[in-house]
Symmetry: C2
Subunit: 169 residues, 2 copies
DNA sequence: GTCTATATTCTGATAGAC
DNA sequence: GTCTATCAGAATATAGAC
């Protein structure tokens, strides 16, 4: 993996997260990665290729995370909720960036998000044993993400979610 | 309220929902509303003015909805969860459009979303009486929205959420 | 209130030098 | 692998006619 290639993906994600798809232009990405536009287009021949590179990065990080859930000492559910709140890590960044791209109607990004959702649900179900409960825990995590994505602050979310979860099992 | 003005806001929301902020150009909005670009710019002198018009529409619809929650026969929580799943109504459209705009930075859209969130939470708390539970119900609703916004299908969400909610009270 | 025409800047992409 | 130069088309916005 080329270092420049990774810098370009980092810059692309940073712009998507901070200012949305409209700001994530080839010009802006190249400038943020301190490369010329020509340099960018050597690694990613088109904007679609850049988006695809981002999706591949997310898929790799997401699958690793689903595996980590299953062996987490605090259990898959708590690991998942904690992860949903946490902001700024590589997975979180890749996920928020992909959500921004998904809004551009690209069915490809939605497909990756949907597949990862399935992996996370399976890990939750393996721990909790209850499909409806696993589903609701996942929705709570989704809700935390939703707020993070829209910029809404909700600091008490994790504590309240864990408290209610404790009452349910 | 001018009819053309409303048609322009409708077209703006439709484009934001279907294809994201990049597709919601002045040209495209004007064409979808069957008005010329000059006609659009008479009603909304800039793109920022168009976005502001959309935020005002959302604020009005959202406040009316929070009031409706408090008098809903099935109770505020069920009303809220059902509303979060429902797709295509005026409030739903305005909300999804505002989320897309919120990503373009501009704290203004986030401020409206945050304020509406507060109204909905107050209505949930008034029915449920339990802050942590009200918070979790809201997060589940947020989660349903998150999936709707990213295009992920999750048809069983409402039934599972209502089943788990029944166990909690 | 709505239109057409135009100015200006931005955006994605190509070509070719180094 | 990276750069500069350049192009065609799109985007926001203005001016002025009707």
């Amino acid at each position: 993996m080329s270092a420049t290639r990774d810098r370009l993906l980092d810059a692309f994600e940073t712009l998507l997260i901070a200012h949305g798809p409209r700001a994530a232009t080839l010009d802006a990405v190249a400038a943020a990665a301190e490369v010329s536009k020509g340099g960018l287009l050597y690694h990613f021949p088109s904007k679609a290729a850049l988006a695809q590179g981002q999706r591949e990065r997310l898929a790799a990080l997401g699958e690793a995370d689903a595996a980590a859930m299953r062996t987490a000492p605090e259990g898959a559910a708590e690991y998942y909720l904690r992860e949903s709140m946490q902001s700024g890590g590589p997975l979180d960044r890749a996920l928020v960036a992909a959500v921004r791209l998904a809004e551009e109607s690209d069915g490809d990004a939605t497909a990756v998000l949907e597949e990862l959702r399935g992996h996370w649900y399976d890990a939750l179900l393996a721990e909790l044993g209850d499909p409806a409960l696993a589903h609701v825990v996942q929705l709570v995590g989704d809700g935390m993400y939703y707020n993070a994505v829209t910029g809404v602050k909700d600091p008490a979310a994790l504590d309240d979610a864990l408290a209610v979860l404790a009452r349910l099992r």
